[in-house]
């Protein structure tokens, strides 16, 4: 067993050396495509931060004063529920102060100053309202009506704040996802080609191996391992790139004035590490798929 494992590793390293240029190209392409995959995740998360308050077709948020009385609160609720032809009553959602505070932590992730001013005691609770009508004037009219209810601190409309960003987010998402998929395809193809070239270069050896009775898996494994390592190396490089990118982004965002909303585009470090793990897994998969296909296909020499 040990003899087999050490054989596989020696062969992998030797083959790597023989094919430096091709391997480097495969690694770089994997790195670039994985970096794009990672960036897609980060951009998406940044948009999500902006849009988190409006998730699930929420069209209007009624902010309720933190010091609201029980009667005032139930009166607001009744008023909202009294309009089933304009408001989707089923989806009407009330976030109490604790839940609203959790949400604010995400919205103001990059804005420490604002965040430090907030607390569970002083934050407004909120009704998330999903309109059933698409008529903006109708919703706007309702908003004006709710604004004057006792206990209501304010009313925000998605239309005013985030409609544009939401559309942009959808667009950016489809563009980045498409591009990452294409580039991932290119990376798999390049790894496939590197491994195929390595196998063609060693066809004499492979022929002898088959004649003396080496199993197909024994012949394949060093090649698959080579592809796997290329994929993982690519992923490591892309993780480095992602880290640099995110740092530059975070410090860039910090330069904006607090309260402009840009600060919520900051992505927390824990999320970035999660994305890096995904990149490593995707890189390893791309590498072993590319080399696996090559190694099964070109064994018949």
């Amino acid at each position: 067993m040990f003899a087999r494992i050490s054989y596989a590793f020696r062969e992998t390293i030797a083959s790597f050396r023989r094919n430096v240029t091709l391997s480097a190209a495969a690694i770089l392409t994997s790195a670039v495509s994985l970096l794009l995959v990672g960036t897609t995740f980060l951009i998406q998360r940044a948009f999500d931060n902006l849009l988190v308050q409006w998730r699930g077709d929420v069209g209007m948020i009624v902010f309720v004063r933190p010091d609201v009385s029980e009667e005032q609160l139930s009166f607001i609720k009744q008023t909202l529920e009294a309009q089933p032809n304009v408001i989707n009553v089923e989806k009407l959602d009330y976030l109490d102060r604790a839940a609203s505070f959790e949400e604010a932590k995400r919205v103001f992730a990059g804005d420490r100053t604002t965040l430090s001013l907030l607390s569970v005691e002083t934050i407004p609770s909120q009704f998330k309202v999903v309109p059933v009508t698409t008529d903006p004037t109708l919703v706007r009219g309702l908003a004006d009506q709710y604004r004057n209810l006792p206990g209501v601190q304010g009313v925000a409309l998605a239309e005013d704040e985030f409609e544009v960003i939401s559309t942009m987010s959808d667009f950016v998402r489809s563009v980045t996802i498409t591009m990452s998929l294409i580039l991932l395809g290119v990376a798999v193809t390049l790894i496939w080609n590197t491994i195929r070239t390595a196998m063609v270069a060693r066809r004499n050896e492979i022929e002898v191996m088959k004649l003396v009775g080496a199993t197909n898996w024994f012949i394949r494994i060093p090649f698959i391992l080579e592809g796997l390592i290329q994929g993982i190396f690519g992923a490591i490089v892309s993780c480095g790139g992602l880290w640099v990118l995110n740092r530059a982004w975070t410090s860039g965002v910090a330069g904006f004035k607090a309260g402009t909303g840009v600060s919520s585009l900051v992505v927390p470090g824990s999320y970035v590490s999660g994305v890096m793990i995904i990149l490593l897994v995707v890189g390893a998969l791309a590498g072993s798929i590319g080399s696996g296909i090559a190694a099964s296909k070109f064994l018949d020499v």
Binding site: F2, A3, N204, E207, V208, M209, V212, T215, N216
Partner: protein, 225 residues
């Protein structure tokens, strides 16, 4: 040890490289396959280690019908067979020792077995003092010895040789033949395809003659003709 029953091998739809071949090679026998170029000698050898599969008929090796052998079992069939070729098929970037060791390595033999068996077999073929040379630093006869050592190091039941003396001068060819003879005397069944009438006539072993894929003669202690 090897039995062919009405074996037909086609290349494409019309060319029959082997037609209805039937013969039986008992364990320990030495057999020459002779016949003009293109008569099917190499094809016959390739049918024996499952490099080719027949369209009709059955090939038996060591009691097993190898047509029905699963692909995943073929490597184990081949571990019981050595192969020697006219062009040696040595790995040019490996030394003599490494070339022989390679065939043990790739079937997962441990290092200590390799360290013990490779020098033994190199001694047998008379190359003990040249184990660190590259194939390019050897004569043709010496290269063929290396390839025989590689084929024999795993102590196979069967040795398949395709014109092993084809590239060698008569004297060197004789040396190779006495080596194959010695290997045959250890009990290994040897099947050798050849054009070389001198070696056939000198050895006086069983001769199977092919003509356009048909076995036209099968003779104990035969000559080339």
């Amino acid at each position: 040890m090897i039995r062919f029953e009405n074996v037909t091998k086609m290349y494409g739809n019309d060319v029959a490289a082997i037609r209805e071949a039937s013969f039986d090679v008992p364990k320990g026998e030495f057999v020459f396959l002779v016949g003009p170029s293109g008569s099917g000698k190499s094809t016959l050898l390739r049918l024996m280690n499952r490099q080719e599969r027949p369209e009709r008929g059955t090939v038996w090796v060591a009691g097993a019908n190898i047509n029905e052998l699963a692909d995943s079992r073929v490597p184990y069939l081949r571990r019981g067979m050595g192969n020697v070729f006219q062009d040696y098929k040595l790995l040019l970037n490996k030394t003599v020792f490494e070339n022989v060791a390679f065939s043990l390595q790739v079937i997962g033999r441990p290092k200590h077995v390799i360290r013990q068996q490779v020098p033994q077999v190199l001694e047998l073929v008379g190359l003990a003092d040249k184990e660190d040379r590259l194939p390019s630093q050897l004569s043709g006869g010496e290269q063929q010895r290396v390839s025989i050592a590689r084929a024999f190091v795993n102590r196979p039941l069967i040795l398949l040789a395709d014109e092993p003396t084809g590239n060698l001068d008569p004297g060197t060819g004789e040396e190779i033949m006495s080596l194959l003879d010695a290997i045959n005397r250890t009990g290994t069944t040897v099947v050798m395809a050849t054009h070389d009438h001198r070696v056939v006539n000198a050895m006086r072993r069983r001769v199977i003659q092919l003509d356009r894929g048909v076995v036209v003669r099968d003779q104990e202690r035969g000559v080339y003709e």
